[in-house]
Symmetry: C2
Subunit: 470 residues, 2 copies
């Protein structure tokens, strides 16, 4: 990013906002040190001077870089000068911790005048009683509009929407609309399209601003409006709304509740949703739940233990399978030395297939016809990789132990396990998806348990038969 | 998504575009079957009638749902009526396969008149010679502007940018600008802001359309322009540009080359970048390279083998470590049965920490001061989880084998391995990041190798010492 040097406002007193970030694009340690010095000295005015010119996103990053007690001190010392929209830019855990420390009166003052969607983000994490209390201290209009947004389900379009928008009747002219826009002081901060509605706020059409700008003053709105309108329902999941934005390259979309226009979703909210969803997939696959880097130790332990418990359970199961071959291993200890190789290769191959499948499911890329092609593909890839790695490990083993037989046994087990890995890697996420479970959350444990069990069982079983050890 | 029934154009002859998608939001099998019937019967006009009303994104999804030979047949039968922008909406492998089959003359006709960024997406995958050939068949202006975009590095802002934009001098008035917009036929399809430039196309400021619309005709441009402008360099990586969009909630940003405005990036391109980057991280972590669901078997094998080779290598190394304890295992075969439990728990715990760290690095959330806090946190979490799971597995083992000693040994090994897992899970991605390597690509193999080695070594080593088996 480069900011044109000639047009950027000069450095503010104290800490230059242009030095906010270091070359790695992180908040600069120097900048932070000086802010900390101001905080320690209680220099409220200086702090206000350096924080006020910051974009909410930058202020949020500054907050995240501070220690929890410094964050609170910063918010308190700024008082009414603290811009609460910065709180929408920090991790949920940071926001919740701060909210816990602030009084409901402070929060009410802070969210008054914020964009509706920002206020919702801040209020939705509060306890029910605190939320009611904060809402009761807000001006009537804001209270009602926030209450309506908060009534929609979590992670719905209604929760994310902005309730300010421009709606005009179809019989207006372009000139009339421009005059209205110029004279009306109470317009949304940013908008990209104008909604054309009937008396009951049903959407008749939209006009993107660029098209609007190019039309002559006398043109009637209904003659230029785009009537093929994509709308989302307020109760729809934000993820589905995000898919519409991505697919149709939207910048703004109207949100309807029982056919009436109640708000708009803009792309900046959707970008956050897209990010969260991709993040969620990665984290679910690794079994770390909804974890943020700034979570406390206790939250981190709580987020990770469930997955580890499941893994302990399956690991013990796998160990029971190995236990079946106690006598075999006793007679030939090389088997114990080699067996993790087969299991580990299966686990990796299965994870590869599973990851591709989980992502394709998340992006709705798999349909009926493709499905058969994909399952066949994965089995064939498993077979090819199985043969490649069977030969590699077979030769290595034969050389290491001077036993061609042992090489053949491990090679055979490898082929079996990699075919099973490919098959399980695609079928398990598909089955979970069919059962309406999130394939990202449970696939990994199923797939690796299967490849472990099959890996150990095939290798030890074939070895037992081949060498007559049973 | 709901489309207002009253304002949506009626069903087209043959296949109703409203039935394009099924309830799962995938291309409906019924719709596809009828398209296939048209294709088989060579009904070119009917195919044109059903394909033309589709949004490029929908047409792309239809293409992806067809078999490779059907895709080619569809493009050929539509001829000049095929909208090449649909090709920017399909997986790279699908696009490349189609391009291979089409003549350069066809491709040249297809990209003529496309948006610059769409044409670049189609041309950038062509072989050098074919690309030159296609370019030579284009109108001069398009050829030059495409050549310039293609000269920027792959995945740079210059490659992704749109070269049509609105640039005006600062001394114009709002009215003059509106008149220009109304009279000029050759404007970009969509734009969200107006650029104010000097004679050498250096950016002096920008005006978002909504602000522009609300200003009176006589207002001078330089009085309302926003001078604190974020610009990206054409050579900058698209990922960095994406971070600016996300952070500052941008919808459009100017792209400069040697300070001159040469194009604009819009949020729809950036949404694709954000998606790709998150996808890349997931896939790199799983070791599947840059793989698409529609890749051929040979590409899939090629994408997965390298990672499996690395894994085979480390698995053999791990097996050598186990081999050191041959004699120990021979005396107590229960060790072979139990040892995968310790390794598997370590691998999972290490992967959890690593995933959180890799994502935090990708999103630039880790700075110096946080770092120390994070490393400590991960070690403490490892210790706490280690103690929890040491007790669990210790009790289970003691009961299973009737040996309290064996329970103590596996418990001790578990504590050691989970602390090591947490430490390796954070230090390895950080080290790779410091070495300018992508932590997503190589962390997983390092982390699991370490937890395997430490898991087996600690468990077998402690057992050997405890039971005097050396």
């Amino acid at each position: 990013m480069s900011t044109d040097p000639e047009t950027t406002p000069g450095p503010e007193a104290g800490i230059d906002p242009n030095t906010l970030r270091d070359s790695e694009d992180r908040i600069s340690p120097l900048w932070l040190e000086r802010l900390r010095a101001y905080l320690a000295a209680g220099r409220a005015d200086d702090i206000a001077t350096v924080m006020e010119p910051l974009h909410a996103a930058d202020a949020g990053d500054v907050l995240e870089s501070l220690d929890p007690d410094e964050r609170l001190a910063l918010v308190r010392i700024l008082g009414d000068k603290f811009d609460y929209s910065a709180l929408t830019e920090v991790d949920e855990s940071v926001r919740v911790d701060l909210m816990d420390e602030l009084s409901n009166a402070d929060i009410a003052r802070g969210v008054t005048g914020l964009d509706n969607d920002d206020a919702v983000t801040i209020l939705e994490d509060l306890e029910q009683a605190d939320r009611e209390d904060v809402l009761s201290q807000l001006p009537t209009f804001e209270r009602l509009s926030l209450k309506r947004s908060l009534d929609f389900p979590e992670e719905s379009a209604g929760r994310r929407m902005q309730t300010d928008f421009i709606a005009i009747p179809p019989f207006w002219s372009v000139g009339q609309t421009i005059d209205y826009l110029r004279s009306e002081p109470d317009l949304p901060d940013e908008f990209y399209q104008i909604y054309v509605v009937d008396a009951s706020y049903q959407v008749l059409g939209i006009i993107p601003l660029d098209k609007f700008l190019r039309s002559r003053r006398e043109t009637r709105i209904e003659d230029i409006m785009n009537t093929n309108v994509i709308l989302v329902d307020a109760n729809e999941d934000q993820e589905e709304a995000a898919r519409d934005f991505e697919r149709y390259d939207l910048v703004e979309v109207g949100v309807v509740d029982e056919k009436r226009l109640v708000g708009v979703l803009t792309i900046d909210d959707i970008v956050d949703v897209i990010h969260e969803e991709a993040d969620e997939d990665i984290k679910l696959l690794a079994g770390v739940g909804d974890e943020d880097i700034s979570d406390a130790i206790s939250d981190t332990v709580r987020s990770r233990v469930p997955w580890l418990v499941v893994n302990l359970f399956t690991a013990v199961m796998v160990s029971l399978v190995i236990g079946l071959f106690n006598a075999t291993i006793e007679q030939m200890v090389a088997l114990a030395v080699l067996m993790p190789i087969v299991a580990s290769m299966g686990g990796n191959a299965g994870t590869q297939t599973m990851t591709v499948t989980v992502r394709a499911l998340a992006m709705r890329e798999i349909d009926g016809r493709r499905l058969r092609r994909l399952i066949t593909r994965e089995m064939v890839v498993g077979l090819i990789n199985g043969v490649i790695f069977a030969i590699l490990i077979g030769v290595v083993t034969a050389l290491r132990y001077g036993q061609v037989d042992l090489g053949a046994v491990i090679g055979l087990a490898m082929v079996i396990n990699l075919v099973v890995a490919g098959t399980a890697g695609i079928l398990i996420p598909l089955a979970l998806d069919k059962l309406k479970a999130d394939p990202a959350i449970a696939s990994a444990v199923f797939v690796t348990t299967i490849t472990d069990v099959v890996g150990f069982f095939a290798f030890l079983g074939i070895a037992g038969l081949w060498f007559g050890l049973f």
